[in-house]
Amino acid sequence: MLEVRNLVAGYGKVKVLHALSLHVPKGQLVTLIGSNGAGKSTTLRAVSGMIRPDSGEIMLGGRNIAGMASHDITRLGMAHSPEGRRVFPTLSVSDNVLLGAFPRLTGARSKGDVKADFDRLIDLFPKLKDRKDQLAGTLSGGEQQMLAMARALMLNPEVLLLDEPSMGLAPKLVEEVFATISRLKAAKVTMLLVEQFAAAALDVADFGYVLENGRISSSGPAESLKNDPAVRAAYLGAAH
């Protein structure tokens, strides 16, 4: 579904990613783990067009989207729930969710039943239902994370990119976020998950990549990565 080949990207002259390749098969949950500054968020930003890759190929459903504008990439079915959630603070919760379906509502993507999807998602995140008419800027961090995910799902995406969905959340909310990700996985949503909680990410994922200084240092089925001594020592903590 999503295939990244030899991606080089960064900010101006500073290159963060050096020939990175990864593959996200249809219906699978792939996770990208690594320490702070390894280039996890940069990878997602380059894939969704928020930054322009310097070279390499990004294939989405057989089409090279490298270098396209982010709004065009979104219209092809790539949803990205970005780092820091980035909800629209002066719009209501409902409007935020609705804007996730912008390409569907404006004819750039097949429409389907927007209303039904809206109701389904707002049921999936009950806290959002209670706060539908509130401004998104007044939500707590956890609620904003739920909102960012609901908004991304309104696209009916071919691929969903999730950037640090657990960041800054209380442990109980982190559990809730991962429970939601499991539900999406059960519903066969194709996902690329970037996480600092490597253990939790590998627990829920099918396949994992370890990113080190802008390069993939190891990869494999999530189960085997979890038992890899090097990965355990570096990312899962000695206690595991």
């Binding site: 979104t74 719009l91 904003q144």
Partner: protein
């Protein structure tokens, strides 16, 4: 007292004009954090295109009011186009390269070019815009109200309410608000944010063009009419806050009324002083403007 009321009335109509132009400044600032310093010239061109269209239609035998109403959509469409041109040629490149000041020079330069064009096409002498409404004032409670002054207030409010309704109700309007909130995140929603910015420039010039045809019948119309208005509306945008629709209306009224009062009770030569003093005070004590709100941001 009657004098006072009379002055208040004329202050209000001029204030609403300032408000509409300032509203235009807000539109582009919201989406792109840039301003069109050629707003005054956009107003001039709107008034002059209106002048030519109305004169032409009257020559065809239409009564002035019908000519004016028919000319409005032409003026507004011209405003949209002119604003889009300013954005494409003056602002887009500066935004792309994240230039801090490029757009300032570019929009000023385009303003000067537009003004020169206006001087060449319409001449340097002021023209008399045919008034669509009776110029005989209505007397209400001893206060003389020119019908055009009422039309200015209504037209200005209608314009601002229409934009507000568009932003609140339609999905495209919400996309504009989303772009104002967070351009990158709006792009991730599939919103073509460069196009939204072009649109906001188009709408901004449309506001100025509307202000131009609204004020033209009660003032002299010509290539130089917009410069001072554009500058004062800029002060209004700062006083009211670049993010508050209510702010520009209130700011416009404050400036319009203080100008008229100073001109009458003190000296017309000083009529600009109180408003500009207010501007300096606001900049010192409340830099976000009287109604400016700092964005709600939670990380």
């Amino acid at each position: 007292m009657q004098n006072f009321m009379q002055i208040l009335v004329s202050g209000i109509s001029v204030g609403m004009i300032y408000g509409v132009i300032a509203f235009g400044y807000q539109l582009t600032f919201a989406t792109s954090k840039t301003l069109n310093f050629g707003q005054g010239e956009a107003l001039t061109l709107g008034a002059l295109v209106g002048f030519s269209t109305v004169t032409f239609l009257i020559a065809l035998g239409l009564p002035p009011l019908a000519a004016y109403i028919l000319a409005l959509p032409i003026v507004l469409a011209f405003g949209l186009l002119q604003g889009a041109v300013v954005e494409r040629f003056g602002v887009r490149q500066a935004i792309k390269t994240k230039s801090e000041a490029g757009w300032i020079m570019a929009t000023i330069a385009l303003g000067i070019i537009f003004k020169n064009m206006a001087e060449n096409v319409w001449g340097k002498d002021p023209l008399k815009f045919p008034s669509p409404l009776s110029e005989a004032p209505l007397t209400i409670g001893g206060v003389n109200l020119r019908p055009m002054e009422i039309a200015i207030v209504l037209g200005a409010l209608a314009m601002m309410l229409a934009v507000e309704a568009f932003n609140r109700r339609s999905i495209y309007g919400k996309a504009v608000v989303a772009t104002s909130n967070d351009r990158d995140a709006a792009g991730l929603m599939g919103i073509n944010t460069p196009l939204v910015i072009t649109f906001s420039y188009a709408l901004s010039s449309l506001s100025a063009a509307l202000a131009g045809v609204l004020i033209a019948p009660i003032t002299l119309t010509g290539a130089n009419m917009g410069a001072a208005l554009g500058l004062k509306a800029f002060a209004v945008a700062i006083i009211g806050g670049l993010s508050s629709g209510l702010g520009v209306v209130v700011g416009g009224l404050i400036l319009g009324i203080t100008e008229s009062l100073t001109g009458f009770y003190f000296d017309t030569g000083y009529k600009d002083v109180p408003g500009l003093l207010l501007l300096l005070l606001v900049l010192s004590f409340k830099p976000a403007g009287l109604f400016g709100k700092s964005a709600i941001k939670k990380v």
